[in-house]
C-alpha cells in the first residue's frame, strides 16, 4: 500500500495559506486511496499557480499551454486508456482561454478527471479579474470594478452534458480527496471545481469568506445527485455556494463507444504495415 509521501516529490512554494496546498494534499490522499503508482498516473496542468503542482507531485507530468490542459489530457487518455489521467486548470485556464475545450470535454465524456482551481482571479499575473470574479470586483485589470457577470462552472457543466459534477473546497481536504477519488472511479469525464482562496491577491474571497458562503449540498436529506432537476434547482438557487457531489450520470464514456478493444491501447500496436491488407485498400482506387 502506498503512502502520501510516495507521491510527494518536493515541498511546494505557494504562498503560505494558499488553497492549492489543500488540493495537493487531497490529490495525494486520493491517489493513495486508489492504490495508484506514481508511474502510471499522468497529471496534466495548465498555466497558473496550480501549474506548479507538477513540480511537487510525483507522477508523469505535463505542464501544457495556457488553457490547453484538457486537449492534451484527452489525447493521452485515448492513446493509452490504461493510464489514470487527471487534468488541472485554474478558473482563467478553464473558463476563459480554455472554455471551448471544457464544454466539449463534457460532451465527449472521456474517462479523465478535471479539477478547476477557482480563486476568482488571475493570481500568477498579479490579480486581474477572471470569469468567476463577481460583478463590481475591483482588480488590477478592472480598477473601476469588473463589469461582467461571473460564470458558474458546475451550472455550465450540467448544461453541457457533464456526467460527474462536483464542487469541493480546498479548506476541506478530506471531502475534496473523497470527491477526487469518486471522480477518478467514475466511468467518464469527472469535473470537480475546487474553491481555493488566493491569500495574496484576493482580499475579498478569503478562506473565511468561503467558509461563510458555502453550504453542503447533501445537508438536504432529500437531495439525490442522480436527479438532474434537483441539481438544476440547487445550482440556480440564489444564495450559498453548493459544495459536494452535485450530479452523476451513467452515460457511456467516449471510450465505451469507440474503443471496444480496451485491453490493447493503441500505443502498443504493431505499426508495421500489413502488405496484403494494404494491397486490398489500394484496389479500391483502381
Amino acid at each position: 500500500m502506498k503512502k502520501d509521501k510516495d507521491f510527494h516529490l518536493s515541498d511546494p512554494t505557494w504562498c503560505a495559506g494558499c488553497g492549492i496546498y489543500g488540493i495537493f494534499a487531497s490529490l495525494k490522499k486520493a491517489a493513495v486511496a486508489l492504490d495508484l503508482d506514481p508511474e502510471e498516473l499522468v497529471l496534466v496542468t495548465g498555466i497558473g499557480c496550480h501549474g506548479r503542482l507538477n513540480n511537487h507531485f510525483k507522477a508523469y507530468g505535463f505542464h501544457a499551454l495556457h488553457g490547453r490542459a484538457l486537449p492534451v489530457a484527452q489525447g493521452v487518455k485515448l492513446s493509452n486508456p490504461s493510464l489514470p489521467v487527471v487534468a488541472i486548470s485554474g478558473d482563467g485556464d478553464a473558463y476563459s482561454i480554455g472554455l471551448g475545450h471544457f464544454i466539449h470535454a463534457l460532451r465527449r465524456n472521456i474517462n479523465i478527471t478535471y479539477l478547476v482551481v477557482d480563486n476568482r482571479l488571475y493570481a500568477l499575473t498579479q490579480g486581474q479579474s477572471s470569469p468567476t470574479s463577481h460583478r463590481g470586483y475591483v482588480s488590477a485589470s478592472a480598477p473601476y470594478g469588473t463589469k461582467e457577470n461571473p460564470l458558474d462552472g458546475p451550472r455550465l457543466a450540467l448544461a453541457s452534458g457533464g456526467t460527474f459534477i462536483a464542487r469541493g473546497f480546498s479548506g476541506n481536504p478530506k471531502q475534496l480527496a473523497s470527491l477526487i477519488e469518486k471522480g477518478m472511479t467514475h466511468r467518464g469525464f469527472s469535473f470537480i471545481e475546487v474553491l481555493s482562496p488566493c491569500v495574496t491577491q484576493n482580499k475579498v474571497n478569503t478562506i473565511q469568506w468561503f467558509r461563510e458562503n458555502i453550504t453542503q449540498i447533501d445537508e438536504d436529506p432529500k437531495y439525490d445527485p442522480r436527479n438532474r432537476t434537483q441539481a438544476q434547482g440547487k445550482l440556480t438557487h440564489e444564495g450559498k455556494i453548493q459544495v459536494g457531489l452535485i450530479y452523476v450520470d451513467d452515460k457511456p464514456s467516449y471510450e465505451d463507444l469507440v474503443m471496444p478493444d480496451r485491453d490493447n491501447p493503441l500505443v502498443w500496436n504493431d505499426l508495421n504495415p500489413d502488405i496484403e491488407r494494404f494491397e486490398k485498400i489500394m484496389e479500391k482506387f483502381q
Binding site: 507538477n54 489525447g75 487518455k77 508495421n272 494491397e279
Partner: protein, 586 residues
C-alpha cells in the same frame, strides 16, 4: 493543340455547370473510365465554396504520357448551362467541340465559330422525357462524351455498376446505363465524325487514381499513424474522412475536435503517450495551431501536421489553390525551435513524404509539416501502385521497458551530442519525468537558470544540424547543362515540367530544381544550382514570392532571381511559365 484526324495523345475535357449539378460526380466517373482505358489522368477542379447555385467547372485531362497537372487548352467542353460559354470559351482550342444544355431550347443547328463547333445538347429535356428526372442529365452527358471520345462501353458499364450497385441497387444501375446509351445515340445523331476525338484504348496496368489528400491519408496509415485529431476545413478534410473509415479497423482513432487549438494539442497528448499522431488543416486553422506548434518544439514531441494550402489571407477562397503559407510554417509561432517542413510535388510524393514525415518526427523529436496545396490535394491523378516494401518504421530513440530499466538516472531531456534524448512513455517503469511548456532542466522540470537555458536551447537546435542526410534533397530535372534555371516547390512541379518541354520545342534549354524540404533549407544544393545558372526563375503561386525570399535569406552568395508569380486562385498552366521565360531570355 490537337489537329483533327491526327492521333490523340493528350486531351482535356471540361465539364461545367452550377454547384449542385453533379459536375464533380460526372467528372470523376469519366476520370475513372479514362484511367481504366489505360490513360494517365489528371483532374482539375475549380469550385466555389458553395453547395448550390454558383458556377463550377471540372477538367479531366488524359494523356499517353504521365502528367501532373492541367494542360493549356480544353478540347471538349460539356456544359450544363450556357453561362459557361462566356466564362470559358477562350480556353477551348481550335478544332475543339462544345456541348451545352440549352435549358429548354430545342435542338438548333450547330454553329462553327473560329474553328470550334458549338452544339445545343438538351440534357435536361432528354432526362425528363426519358427518365422523369433531371438527375439523369449527368449520365446522358457522360454518354455524349463517350461518343466524342469513343470510349469502351464495357468499361463504362463496369464503373456504373460499381458506383451504384451497392448504394442504389440493380434497377438504378440499369437506368443509368440506359441514360449513357441514350446520350451516346443522341450525340451520334448530331455530331459529325470529323468532330470526334477518339482515344486509343491501352491496357490498364492496375494503376491508382487518387488525390493528394487520399495519398497522405494512405501514407499515414502505412506509417503507423493511429491517432488523428482534426477540425473540418477545406481543402484538407478528405485526409480525415478517409482515415475516419479506415483507422478504427486498425485499432486506431479519429477524433473531431472543437477547434484547431484542440486538434494539435490532442495530437501532442497522444504522441506523448506513444501514438503516432497527426492532424490536418489549412490557412486559418494553421494559424490557430501556431500556439501548439511551439509547444511541440519546446517539449520535443513528435507530431505530423498536413497543411493543404488554400487561397488567403483570412477566409480567402477556401476551395481554391495557392502557395502562400510557406512563411507561416517556416517562420511561424513564438520563440525559436527546430521544425521540418516537407513539400511533396506529386501524388507519389504525398504518400512517400508522409511515411518519411512520421519517421523524421520521431527520430528528431520535433514537429514535421507536410505542406501541400488544394491543387493536387483535392484533384485526382493516376499513379503507379505504392510500394509497401519500401515503408520502414523508424521510431528513433523511443525506449522500450527493458532498455529503460537498464538506464541509471533516466533523464527525458538529457544533453546528448546529437541533441536527441532517449524517450520514455508515461506508464513505463523507471521513466518518470516532466514535460514542460516552460523552459526546463534535463528531467523536464521548470528551470529559469541562464546557464541551463543556453544549454537547452543549443541541445534542441542542434538536433537538425546533422539532419541533412535524412532529409529529402532537392531534385534537378531537365537539361543539366542549361544556363536557365527554374526553382519551385509543390504543385508547380507539373506545369514546370511541361513548360521545360515547351521551351525545348522553342530551342530554349532549361533545368528545374524542385525543392522538397523547405526547412531546414537545403542551402548547399541550392547554392550549387544557382551557381550553375546564368538566369534563375522562381515560380510560385503567391504574390510576394515566399520561396524566392527564403532563398535570398538563406544562400550565402550574391544572386539575382526573377519571380514568376500567379495569385489568381488557379494553378499554373504550362504556357504561363514557358512564355514568361521565353520573353525574359530572348
Amino acid at each position: 493543340m490537337k489537329i483533327k484526324g491526327k492521333k490523340i495523345a493528350d486531351i482535356s475535357v471540361m465539364i461545367a455547370g452550377k454547384a449542385g449539378d453533379g459536375v464533380l460526380f460526372t467528372g470523376n466517373v469519366l476520370a475513372k473510365i479514362l484511367k481504366r482505358q489505360g490513360w494517365w489522368v489528371s483532374t482539375y477542379r475549380d469550385f466555389p465554396s458553395n453547395i448550390r447555385g454558383e458556377p463550377t467547372n471540372y477538367t479531366i485531362r488524359a494523356s499517353l504520357e504521365k502528367i501532373y497537372g492541367q494542360a493549356d487548352d480544353i478540347d471538349v467542353f460539356m456544359a450544363f448551362d450556357c453561362g459557361a460559354i462566356i466564362d470559358h470559351a477562350d480556353k477551348i482550342v481550335k478544332g475543339g467541340i462544345f456541348l451545352c444544355d440549352g435549358l429548354g431550347l430545342a435542338h438548333v443547328a450547330p454553329s462553327r465559330i473560329d474553328g470550334r463547333t458549338y452544339h445545343i445538347f438538351p440534357l435536361r429535356k432528354l432526362a425528363r422525357e426519358n427518365f422523369q428526372s433531371e438527375l439523369y442529365k449527368n449520365m446522358i452527358a457522360l454518354g455524349a462524351l463517350s461518343h466524342i471520345l469513343d470510349l469502351d462501353f464495357r468499361v463504362i458499364e463496369g464503373i456504373i455498376s460499381e458506383t451504384f450497385l451497392k448504394r442504389k441497387g440493380k434497377k438504378i444501375v440499369r437506368k443509368n446505363i440506359r441514360a449513357v446509351r441514350l446520350g451516346c445515340q443522341q450525340a451520334k445523331k448530331m455530331i459529325e465524325q470529323e468532330e470526334i476525338h477518339p482515344l486509343v484504348e491501352k491496357k490498364d496496368s492496375g494503376r491508382l487514381l487518387l488525390s493528394g489528400n487520399e495519398a497522405i491519408a494512405m501514407g499515414s496509415l502505412a506509417a503507423g499513424c493511429r491517432y488523428f485529431a482534426a477540425y473540418p476545413i477545406c481543402p484538407a478534410t478528405e485526409i480525415w474522412q478517409w482515415l475516419a473509415v479506415v483507422l478504427p479497423e486498425y485499432n486506431g482513432l479519429v477524433i473531431q475536435t472543437e477547434d484547431e487549438l484542440a486538434a494539435l494539442n490532442m495530437a501532442l497528448g497522444a504522441s506523448y503517450a506513444g501514438a503516432r499522431a497527426m492532424t490536418s488543416t489549412s490557412g486559418p486553422g494553421a494559424s490557430l495551431m501556431m500556439e501548439a506548434f511551439s509547444l511541440a518544439g519546446m517539449a520535443e514531441i513528435p507530431v505530423v501536421v498536413a497543411h493543404v494550402q488554400r487561397v488567403g489571407p483570412s477566409t480567402g477562397m477556401p476551395t481554391k489553390t495557392e502557395q502562400s503559407d510557406l512563411d507561416q510554417w517556416v517562420y511561424g509561432s513564438h520563440g525559436e525551435f527546430p521544425r521540418i517542413v516537407l513539400s511533396p510535388g506529386t501524388i507519389e510524393e504525398c504518400f512517400e513524404f508522409t511515411v518519411k514525415a512520421f519517421n523524421l518526427a520521431e527520430k528528431y523529436q520535433c514537429p514535421v509539416i507536410l505542406l501541400t496545396e488544394q491543387d493536387y490535394g483535392q484533384n485526382l491523378r493516376t499513379v503507379k501502385k505504392f510500394d509497401l516494401t519500401k515503408v520502414k518504421i523508424d521510431r528513433g530513440k523511443l525506449l522500450n521497458q527493458e532498455e529503460l530499466e537498464g538506464i541509471k538516472d533516466y533523464r527525458r531531456y538529457k544533453f546528448t551530442p546529437d541533441g536527441i534524448s532517449p524517450r520514455a512513455l508515461p506508464g513505463m517503469k523507471n521513466g518518470l519525468h516532466m514535460v514542460e511548456s516552460n523552459e526546463h532542466d534535463q528531467n523536464g522540470y521548470r528551470d529559469e537558470d541562464s546557464e541551463n537555458r543556453i544549454r537547452m536551447m543549443q541541445k534542441r537546435m542542434r538536433k537538425l544540424e546533422n539532419a541533412a542526410k535524412d532529409l529529402i534533397p532537392p531534385r534537378v530535372w531537365g537539361d543539366r547543362e542549361s544556363e536557365f534555371g527554374i526553382i519551385g516547390f509543390g504543385s508547380t512541379f507539373g506545369p514546370i515540367q511541361e513548360a521545360i518541354a515547351q521551351l525545348k520545342d522553342r530551342k530554349i534549354r532549361a533545368k528545374y530544381m524542385q525543392i522538397r524540404t523547405l526547412w531546414p533549407f537545403p542551402r548547399k544544393k541550392v547554392e550549387e544550382f544557382l551557381d550553375s545558372c546564368k538566369e534563375v526563375f522562381v515560380v510560385e503561386n503567391n504574390f510576394t514570392g515566399q520561396l524566392g525570399q527564403l532563398i535570398r535569406s538563406q544562400v550565402q552568395m550574391p544572386i539575382r532571381i526573377k519571380n514568376i508569380l500567379k495569385y489568381s486562385s488557379q494553378a499554373f498552366r504550362p504556357q504561363e511559365i514557358s512564355s514568361q521565360i521565353q520573353m525574359a531570355v530572348r
